[in-house]
């Protein structure tokens, strides 16, 4: 398959190799993160006037799904501020490679807690409490602060980026969809790595990956540490066709299926709550602890843990029966999880277009008046309009859903032996796409 290795451009290589450009970006995101927490705690309680709400839930969340992931895979992880303080302590310095200098117990993450299960659980929590978090600057700030402290504490107990690898829901989200993204880090010449005894790249990797063994972009955070310590300049950063990690021979685990299904359920439920005309559903999702909320939570969990997985298991079971090999159902559930990746990615993009385009008008006013205290730092007119869905945005949403169905059907066909075998998975994707179509433009 075609690849374009960025490190062959001396200028790009210099930018990736130096720790400074990345540090500057990280310093900016960390400062922004802390400012967001402060704005959330001290600023206006009117969500749409508070920097914290608008920047986290409109600007960043949109940028992640419309830019970072579809054009850069896990590129956000490369500049994410959350693990930074802990990592600096672990490394014993800010511009330091991983080594023995830092502090921390460096314990290994427990085996039973590995995989993306907890990340999926975190995403379920976002869904269950999202309506409140999304509208309350204070709670958004408290959640961000909690995450920052948790990541710091974990990095002092466990080795490397255990928080990112096993707990961070956004890490799970980015990793899952990075498999469809157009960026990958791989070794250039496998023989050079095989002959290299010290494996400095593995020692340096905050993610615990061994570049020679990288087959998927799901678990590589694109931090470039391996590229910096490799004595043979043997690390490539490739631009590649979208969807390169999805195919008949790539390896996938069953927890990826679960994560993919949780993401689909979240997109469905968020669309119903935030874009639908059902006021009672909104109030139920918002009034946490009320009887209505328990009804909502039950319905959400039944969708995420019952209905969607049920349909997926059914489709996989049928596909399995149409196949010639007697693969176990468990194996097939993992194998066909690849279909959920492009489907979920495009559905989230469509949802984001619907959700965020309307609210972009809020962004400039909170830049000029971040705390909602009536400042006008940039001298702009400050009132945000109501916002509206344009016919362009609607057509774009339909187009994104169409691409998602095409792409997931194509993956289903490529990883099946026959069309008949792919048909149940295509039916699953169609059903889900139609539900989203109805929620977004119905």
């Amino acid at each position: 398959m075609t690849r374009l290795d960025l490190t062959r451009s001396p200028r790009a290589l210099a930018l990736l190799r130096s720790r400074w450009p990345q540090f500057l970006l990280r310093a900016i995101t960390l400062a922004g993160f802390i400012f967001t927490i402060l704005a959330g705690l001290m600023g206006s309680v009117v969500g749409s006037h508070n920097f914290a709400i608008i920047f986290v839930w409109i600007a960043w969340w949109t940028a992640l799904k419309l830019a970072f992931i579809p054009f850069g895979g896990r590129s956000w992880c490369s500049i994410c501020p959350i693990p930074m303080p802990g990592e600096w302590l672990q490394n014993g310095g800010i511009l330091q490679p991983r080594g023995s200098m830092g502090i921390g117990l460096g314990k290994r993450w427990p085996k039973v807690l590995r995989g993306t299960w907890i990340q999926a659980g975190g995403f379920l929590l976002i869904g269950l409490f999202g309506a409140l978090t999304l509208t309350s600057a204070k709670i958004t700030a408290i959640v961000l602060l909690f995450i920052l402290v948790l990541a710091l504490a974990l990095s002092l107990v466990f080795e490397r980026r255990s928080f990112c690898n096993y707990l961070c829901p956004i890490g799970g989200f980015s990793g899952l969809y990075a498999q469809a993204g157009p960026v990958e880090l791989r070794v250039k010449d496998t023989d050079i790595c095989a002959a290299h005894i010290e494996k400095t790249c593995y020692t340096a990797c905050p993610w615990g990956q061994y570049p020679l063994a990288l087959k998927s972009s799901a678990n590589c955070g694109l931090c470039m540490e391996c590229l910096r310590v490799c004595p043979s300049e043997n690390i490539a950063v490739n631009l590649r066709p979208w969807g390169s990690d999805l195919g008949p021979k790539t390896k996938h685990r069953i927890d990826e299926a679960f994560l993919g299904l949780v993401m689909l359920a979240s997109a469905l439920v968020d669309s119903a709550i935030f874009l639908g005309p059902w006021g009672q559903l909104k109030s139920a999702a918002y009034n946490i602890g009320s009887p209505d909320w328990f009804l909502f939570a039950g319905a959400f969990l039944i969708t995420a843990l019952g209905i969607l997985p049920g349909l997926y298991v059914g489709a996989t079971w049928a596909a399995n029966r149409f196949g010639s090999t007697n693969a176990s159902l468990r194996k097939s559930l993992a194998h066909y999880s690849q279909v959920l990746v492009p489907l979920g990615l495009m559905v989230w993009i469509a949802f984001t277009i619907s959700f965020a385009f309307v609210k972009f008008g809020y962004v400039l006013p909170v830049v000029t008046d971040p705390l909602g205290w009536g400042w006008n730092l940039l001298g702009l007119t400050k009132s945000a309009g109501v916002g509206e869905t344009t016919s362009f945005s609607l057509v774009l949403q339909v187009a994104m859903l169409t691409v998602g169905l095409f792409w997931s059907s194509r993956v289903a066909l490529r990883i099946s032996e026959t069309i008949r075998q792919a048909a149940p998975l295509i039916a699953f994707s169609s059903l889900f796409t139609m539900a989203m179509l109805w929620l977004l433009v119905g």
């Binding site: 398959m1 075609t2 690849r3 374009l4 290795d5 009117v46 969500g47 749409s48 309506a131 509208t135 309350s136 990958e184 791989r186 250039k188 010449d189 496998t190 095989a194 087959k215 490539a236 490739n238 590649r240 709550i273 874009l275 639908g276 005309p277 059902w278 006021g279 009672q280 909104k282 109030s283 918002y286 609210k359 109501v386 916002g387 509206e388 869905t389 344009t390 016919s391 609607l394 057509v395 339909v398 187009a399 859903l401 169409t402 691409v403 169905l405 095409f406 792409w407 059907s409 194509r410 289903a412 490529r414 069309i419 295509i426 796409t433 139609m434 179509l437 109805w438 433009v441 119905g442």
Partner: protein, 165 residues
């Protein structure tokens, strides 16, 4: 364990394999944008009474026909709420207990969201209703596009198995 082939080794993309994209893209644009005749209904005068409360409109989903002359009576049952209709630039504002009235001609067909335009509380940005004017053509176009997408997937994969990869 066998090593995978070198990832930075490049083979030129076989663009012929993707030749089907052009007619399919044309067909997709046609499905999305081709004007379709709407069933004709004699325009009516409609009086719609919409109750706004935190954070919903009742009724939240309304269907009318293109060409109808619509008079909205917006009643707020708690705090001040607004009513702003996408694409129409039509706006009302109702004080609690008072009725705000406005009229417009439904000259654009499709499904339009209406939103509260006065900050009324935490869920205000999501206080939304739906006004459907005529049949929802975009939804049906979307379904036709979905079928097209599946057939495109079939074609693309058939070309893969005949192609070089």
């Amino acid at each position: 364990m066998p090593m995978e082939s070198l990832p930075y080794k490049t083979t030129p993309t076989n663009w012929k394999r993707w030749a089907w994209v052009i007619p399919y893209a044309g067909l997709a644009l046609l499905i999305l944008f081709i004007p379709l005749p709407l069933p004709f209904h004699a325009p009516q005068d409609r009086l719609l009474r919409i109750e706004a409360s935190s954070f919903q409109f009742t009724p939240g989903e309304i269907q009318i026909n293109p060409g109808d002359r619509v008079t909205i009576e917006l009643v707020s049952t708690d705090v001040v709420h607004g009513f702003s209709l996408d694409a129409y630039g039509f706006e009302l504002k109702a004080d609690p207990g008072q009725t705000a009235t406005g009229t417009f001609i439904a000259d654009q067909a499709g499904v339009f969201r209406f939103r509260c335009s006065v900050a009324c509380g935490n869920l205000h940005p999501f206080m939304i209703g739906k006004l459907q004017i005529g049949p929802n053509l975009l939804f049906f176009r979307g379904i036709a596009l979905g079928l097209l997408a599946i057939s495109a997937a079939l074609i693309s994969v058939r070309n893969v198995s005949r192609g070089t990869t």
